[in-house]
């Protein structure tokens, strides 16, 4: 995408800066520029904090405050002499050429992985900063062209750094926990797609980055395919697994528990908070491919004499998902399911009426109904939620259309990244 900084008068390309001469104030050559160091983190455009150069056969570190000017093929220092010091990586510092160039980055705009062909640097707010990443043909051409011609490949469109998150997990020494604030802009489903497309280590980094927000982390796990869920939970302790499961929807959590290695299941379930533990245990008893395995215990079911405002209050305090609450269920004093009403119909109805008067006949299934039966019922009666009842016709769970859709989607419509991802 065209960036706002693309119009900055002088954009430097990393590929033309590294390999250039290191000069003193008088213009005498001191050595060769090897890499630029930037600090990731707070700034929107990371500042150059120093550079690595080879001087007289030794690699030295040149701090940013010693540098007068950075340009293509030459970097000039302020003084006539260099204060020779070895390079020690400080927190959040990365080497642009070694750690970022040629590697994958997350393009937050569109949630895609891209590969950096060149890195664009400009003087911004008085100092040199990384302003963008070239992921296009020009960057590639500049890198491939002989050195003499490379300079004539002009700057093209590049990706604004404000839209980019680099991976830093491969950077050695300090396990610098570089925050990835831009990832928070993405939808959990997009994050899950990225995790699945990236390598294991990079996926781990994305999950770690969203880990500061446990609810978001749980949402991402809900969206991951089973074998990817396992891939990232395997290395965690039972306690950590339970923490993630505690925040997931109970039906998704139960599915995930069922995928865990047998010897871990019981330990993990035992560590869940009481409510979630009971639900997961209950759901685990059902075959995953039947209504019992698909249903979620989060729903609102009220007695038929409940008033309009009482019902709405129940919806307000409920922890169920918006999909599940699209329908309100009505039961008799014997807890038999007797009616169902769409939330929208309830809102439109006369406020004086009792819910029993508004509700229609509920279309329901038994826990052993198969997927076909559930989806047929949904199609025939235009339902987005199907209630599941036990032998005494008591409501024990609801199946929402999103969970069904996931299973009836034709093969190939959903991305698959491996054999184990199916079923």
């Amino acid at each position: 995408m065209e960036s706002s900084v693309a119009s900055t008068p002088h954009v430097l390309h990393l590929s033309l800066v590294v390999g250039g001469e290191l000069r003193d104030r008088s213009g005498a050559k001191l050595g060769r520029v090897d890499d630029l160091i930037v600090r990731l983190g707070e700034d929107e455009y990371p500042p150059v904090t120093g550079l690595l150069a080879t001087v007289a056969g030794r690699q030295v570190f040149v701090a940013a405050d010693e540098v007068e000017e950075i340009d293509h093929r030459r970097v000039t220092i302020r003084g006539l002499r260099l204060d020779l010091q070895p390079f020690r990586r400080r927190p959040q510092e990365v080497l642009l050429k070694k750690d970022v160039l040629d590697r994958q980055l997350i393009n937050v705009d569109g949630a895609r992985l891209v590969r950096s062909n060149d890195i664009e640097i400009a003087r911004l707010g008085g100092w040199y900063r990384v302003v963008g990443v070239d992921v296009g043909l020009r960057g590639l051409l500049r890198r491939l062209a002989p050195r003499a011609l490379a300079g004539s490949v002009g700057a093209g469109e590049f990706l604004d750094w404000a839209l980019v998150e680099p991976f830093t997990g491969h950077v050695p020494t300090v396990r610098l926990r570089v925050p990835h604030p831009k990832l928070a802009r993405l939808h959990p489903a997009q994050l899950a797609d990225l995790v699945e497309a990236a390598s294991h280590r990079e996926g781990e980094e994305i999950i770690e980055a969203v880990g500061d927000d446990p609810d978001l982390e749980a949402d991402v796990f809900e969206e991951l395919e089973a074998h990817h869920q396992l891939e990232f939970l395997e290395e965690r302790s039972d306690e950590q697994v339970a923490k993630v499961l505690a925040r997931m929807e109970s039906d998704d959590a139960a599915d995930l528990v069922a995928e865990l290695p047998e010897e871990r299941r019981e330990d993990v379930v035992e560590m869940l908070p009481a409510v979630q533990r009971r639900r997961v245990r209950a759901l685990l008893g059902y075959d995953a491919a039947t209504a019992g395995g698909l249903m979620s215990p989060d729903f609102v079911c009220v007695y038929s004499q409940a008033t309009h405002s009482e019902v709405l209050e129940r919806v307000r305090v409920s922890r169920g998902s918006a999909e599940a609450l699209a329908w309100i269920y009505v039961m008799s004093t014997h807890k038999r399911l007797t009616g169902a009403v769409a939330l929208a119909d309830l809102l439109r109805a006369d406020q004086e009426l009792r819910i029993g008067d508004i509700a229609g006949v509920p279309r329901h299934v038994r826990p052993d109904a198969d997927l076909e039966e559930v989806s047929r019922l949904m199609t025939d009666y235009d339902l987005t939620v199907v209630p599941v009842v036990d032998e005494e016709e008591r409501l024990i769970g609801v199946i929402t259309v999103d969970d069904v859709l996931e299973l009836v989607l034709p093969k190939g419509w959903r991305r698959r990244f491996g054999v184990l991802g199916e079923d």
Binding site: L113, R115, A197, E231, R278, A288, F417
Partner: protein
């Protein structure tokens, strides 16, 4: 308003569960250890077997048949050495895929820069295109044995291969690839039908017969070259990545690579035995291509042997015709960072699918246009592969021993020496073949 508490509802559900659990507990039912292992093995049967067997393609069969026809069983010992080398190399590539989750081309770009990556990519593209053409020629030749004109068989085969690779899911494609190795069993049967002298076969394997003449050396080098080809490492690593295998699957995947390589090279040995027991014994020492080999078998081992050779050739060529475009597409997507994977649809990964389609289309066209000098083309391919192999192997070796990249899964000290020696020996042979091809002295 009276509320039913959550606990009540859950209690209801739990009672329900208790009743149900007695009758049916599918999700909690433990599987027996053996069944679990068997399923794990079947699920993992794939990249190593497919990569190694794609090497027994039209060009491979022609080479092995020439070896058998010219020297009988004399060169069988060499297949043992080549098998070990193949396993060493393939294991490193598969391990890298499982540990890093990245393809070889991707790692080359990240660790050695864009120029090396570009060089490998362009070479792979040309080499694979060349081999791809020879596979379609092979398909045409195999079906020609059954009287089907190649103008008909080749386009049909191309469409089938394309549909399988582009429209099928990864799981389906991989299963079909694995099934495509079944025709290879034709060779052991053909070998048995040819009534070889099994004692002589055994002796040739354990007691090397080394001759120091140029023709012998040439075949030796050519056999090594056709058995260990750059696309195999590239394919096995990318496929391991796409399959989503991780370090925890390493043990099983290693077993799969080893068994796959052994299977492929046993097949190659049976081809040598089959031709050695017939053509060599009867003094018919020249084999030009795989179809020739099949035809030549007929007078000695009967019609059945010819048919078997044809079936094997067809399966091998189809498998390789699918794997080569896929490998080229993986490499291009990895180098440039495009969406990749045979589990993608054209809309999701246009470049990936575009490369596959282009390679198959060119392969088909060249194979059905009469008068295209296929032999010259194959020589050219051999040259590109000869240059590419040492480079690919060097990268595989260095990357697999890189601790920063591989951590605890990096090559151990002893293994690294073995791997280095293998890479050096294989590369030398490859460069020798290059020299021989250029000088044209043989």
């Amino acid at each position: 308003m009276r509320r039913i508490s959550m606990a009540m509802r859950v209690r209801a559900a739990t009672t329900q569960v208790r009743d149900r659990v007695i009758t049916r507990r599918r999700r909690l039912r433990p599987r027996s250890r053996l069944a679990t292992r068997l399923i794990a093995l079947l699920a993992i049967l794939g990249p190593g077997l497919i990569a190694a067997n794609a090497g027994n393609d039209a060009g491979g069969i022609a080479t092995y048949a020439s070896v058998g026809a010219k020297y009988g069983y004399d060169l069988l010992w060499m297949m043992v050495v080549i098998t070990v080398s193949l396993i060493v190399v393939q294991e490193m590539a598969a391990r890298m895929g499982a540990v890093t989750g990245k393809g070889l081309a991707e790692l080359i770009r990240e660790q050695y820069g864009v120029r090396w990556a570009m060089f490998s990519t362009v070479s792979v593209l040309f080499a694979n295109l060349g081999i791809c053409i020879s596979e379609f020629v092979g398909i045409g030749a195999a079906l020609n044995l059954a009287g089907v004109p190649f103008q008909v068989s080749v386009p049909i085969a191309a469409v089938v291969v394309w549909l399988l690779v582009v429209r099928g899911s990864y799981k389906v494609a991989e299963r079909v690839f694995v099934l495509m190795t079944i025709p290879f069993f034709a060779y052991p049967i053909a070998a048995i039908l040819a009534h070889p002298h099994w004692g002589a076969v055994g002796k040739a394997i354990v007691a090397p017969q080394i001759q120091l003449n140029s023709a012998y050396l040439f075949l030796f080098i050519a056999t090594a070259g056709t058995t260990i080809t750059p696309f195999m490492q590239l394919y096995v690593q990318s496929a391991v990545v796409e399959k989503g295998l991780g370090p925890e699957d390493l043990k099983a995947e290693r077993a799969e690579v080893i068994s796959g390589s052994i299977f492929a090279n046993l097949i190659a040995m049976f081809i040598i035995i089959a031709t050695g027991a017939t053509l060599f014994v009867h003094g018919d020492h020249t084999v030009n291509n795989a179809a020739d080999a099949a035809r030549a078998l007929r007078p000695f081992a009967g019609r059945f042997a010819e048919a078997l050779f044809g079936v094997g050739l067809l399966g091998a060529s189809l498998l390789a015709a699918a794997i080569l475009p896929v490998t080229a597409a993986y490499v291009i997507a990895e180098t440039f960072g495009f969406e990749k994977g045979i589990s993608h649809r054209p809309r999701e990964a246009p470049v990936f699918v575009g490369v596959i389609t282009t390679l198959i289309a060119i392969g088909t066209l060249v194979a059905i246009i009469p008068g295209v000098p296929v032999i010259k083309l194959l020589v050219g391919v051999q040259v590109v592969n000869g240059v590419l192999l040492p480079i690919t192997l060097f990268f595989v070796w260095r990357l697999a021993s890189n601790r920063e990249l591989m951590g605890e899964y990096a090559n151990g000290h002893t293994f690294n020496l073995l791997a280095g020696a293998t890479v050096l020996a294989t590369s030398t042979l490859s460069l020798l073949l290059l020299g021989v091809t250029f000088s044209g002295s043989l």
